[in-house]
Symmetry: C2
């Protein structure tokens, strides 16, 4: 008879979240052995490239394509029997996978999106990298990949940035960034559907286009009710591949129709969740006249706990609750005090606010797109045209975030990357 | 202003299903060019291995591991600009993918599961391969991978079976099979979240264990309400990687607790959907005394349209509606007439039938597991122990299917693979 009772609770997604630290260990509980080696950044072995490549020009096709990575990458192999091997920093190049590799069949993969920023003060910075590394652990656990100490991942990210940052983000290009992509895949070549026994963690730095520069604003197409991004009890909160591929048909259709992204709705009430692969925010006045910044809550676990989302909310809560009067003269207008609210809201709420003239702004926020104002939402035959405010809440919040990322404002969220002058 | 109106319907999953044939073409509608090359099996280029490998012994660890593939594989590359290149039959070996490859990040992947059977009459057979190839097209379209003519895929599967079948399924091993895995992955090395512009189709033949031999029956653990496999408007009906990886945590926990698979429930009513990665069937008597074979319907698109499921239903409808009296003397008992029903049913329905003594059998059906009787369902603290019937509906249906696959019964579903005596 199978065991039952309290251990059943581990099957819940809450249980998974609670047990993430034990994932790697618990797989091997059957063997009464010494603990397996953990991921350890201090063991990093370096093999530098003999073929350094040129850095693409700003605004070049190479950057627009987001295919060009820097000279090096970091990899670390894991197996259920041997734990984590020493990580390697080595020349960037192709991976070799057997055609039976789990990741190619069962989407046993997860990733993070971060950026390395070249500050206006000449320094390189990461933005809250600990949050990305913690989330990566949560994602890897959700997709049956091994656990690790997030601090070790952070150190590996830092090591790669230290190696390639100086060359690939030259000091004469302040205000630019590289996109950092920590990735974990199941390299296990067993074709059976089962928990992977082998995995590969890797980190790459990719030349990536600026996606928040459009002054026309983003045009969003609200999803149809038979195309759902995520659901309660699923995995919409985790940064796993399985959230992305299935959205591409809808995204491709939307782009062909002239929209930038899908605004993902959920349920019969058309709850507003995410836009494309970014979090979504609105600013409106309530019927009672209170100005609110509203975004979907994390409770149902159908949206991503975005680092930009979290930072936006935290800045709004600390700097906008009593309103904002620009001190540096760079903003022409002051902003009303806002209430910051994480709650379910629906397209009906948006339409009502729009029709009653209470709708103020909408914007998306995420690492890749950063903060982008929304100029249009199309919902079942109706266009909601939204004002693009040059000096509104979105631009103010974006300015603060950007200031922290690029060193205009000293802030604990920014972590400086050491550059060894070479 | 973006276009609107009727074309919005393409965003629905029904729209996707209707438009599958146009997928590859519609991507390139912007270019007023000649049609791009289609997938064409007649262009197959062959490069045979210089290092043929030994065939694993029956019941050897190599087979149990499901890692060992035959000497060759078939690959075909696609790109949005060049269409399908000529397919290649070549030595089995690793794939080379850039670390930025779409499939490694966004689960842009789909596959099929088929088997090559060595018949008791010495012949090699496929079972309804056209259905798998049609479903592969549906899956590839759902996950934003290119379209193709399913008949060409079938011809490629056939070509690989003709090449490697004779050696890897020797004639002195009748009643054995190789597992066939057609796979398509997005090889596009663009890191941006977008429809892939490059893809690789490949077909491999893998030594695979027999998974339906257990006489103890399968033990199923009903899923908790916060661990949900699929959702209406999602992709549970498509054979895409995104359905599998996210299920492995629950599956791993279930196995650790002594169960074989998860019985996936859906919704507050606990509708019964699939078991593991197989379809699920029950046989019960209704309160009115009618014997029914029941399985979940395809309408909501949350379960896979399994080939074994479909074949089971078709055989039951043609051979069991008036009951069954064995003609060959190999079965001791006759079976009552059954009504074959595809409808929603719940754990409450199952429990009620169980408690009232109306529950007769439960079994799973799929290519990998074939037909396996269920001996136990654990649902929220309660064990339902189900009789394993040596001569019941499951075994009878399984016997018919097996007879067709292994050439004991001549049937149009079995397609003979030519063997060139070498």
């Amino acid at each position: 008879m199978p065991m039952e009772g309290s251990s059943t609770s581990k099957l819940t997604s809450n249980g998974v979240a609670k047990n993430i630290a034990n994932t790697a260990q618990s797989i091997s509980t059957a063997q009464p052995t010494t603990p397996l080696p953990e991921l350890d950044a201090s063991l990093l072995q370096k093999t530098l490239t003999n073929n350094p490549r040129p850095v693409p020009e700003l605004n070049s096709p190479e950057i627009a394509q987001s295919k060009t990575c820097t000279d090096h990458m970091i990899t670390a192999s894991w197996s259920v029997t041997n734990g984590w091997e020493a990580p390697e920093l080595k020349p960037y190049g192709p991976l070799s996978l057997m055609p039976t590799a789990s990741v190619l069949h069962y989407a046993t993969e997860c990733f993070e999106g971060m950026k390395l920023y070249r500050g206006y003060d000449g320094k390189l910075r990461l933005f809250r990298p600990n949050l990305n590394c913690n989330r990566m652990l949560m994602s890897s656990s959700r997709i049956a990949l091994p656990g690790f100490d997030p601090l070790q991942l952070e150190k590996l990210v830092m090591a790669l940035c230290e190696q390639d940052g100086s060359k690939w983000l030259p000091k004469d290009r302040p205000g630019n960034f590289l996109y950092i992509r920590p990735t974990m895949i199941a390299s296990d070549s067993t074709l059976g559907v089962q928990r992977p026994k082998e995995a590969l963690l890797y980190i790459i730095l990719c030349c990536f286009p600026v996606m928040d520069a459009s002054t026309a604003g983003m045009k969003l197409l609200a999803s149809q009710d038979d195309m759902v991004r995520a659901w309660p009890g699923g995995f919409g909160y985790a940064k796993v591949g399985a959230n992305y591929g299935p959205s591409l048909v809808a995204q491709g259709e939307a782009r062909r129709m002239g929209y930038d992204q899908i605004l993902w709705l959920f349920g019969d009430e058309c709850n507003v969740t995410e836009a494309g692969a970014s979090n979504f925010f609105v600013v409106w006045k309530t019927k009672e006249g209170v100005t609110q910044l509203v975004t979907a809550p994390l409770g149902e676990k159908i949206i991503l706990d975005g680092i930009t989302r979290r930072s936006t909310l935290e800045l709004a809560r600390t700097r906008l609750v009593n309103g904002w009067t620009p001190t540096d003269g760079s903003l022409p207008g002051k902003l009303d005090a806002i209430e910051v609210v994480e709650r379910k809201f629906t397209m009906k709420d948006i339409e009502e606010a729009y029709d009653e003239g209470r709708f103020i702004e909408a914007f998306v926020a995420g690492t890749a797109f950063f903060v982008g104002q929304v100029s249009l939402i199309h919902f079942r035959g109706k266009d909601l045209n939204i004002e693009m405010r040059e000096h509104g809440y979105a631009t103010t919040l974006k300015g603060w975030l950007s200031g922290i990322m690029y060193g205009k404002e000293k802030h604990e969220w920014a972590v400086i990357v050491n550059e060894t002058e070479s």
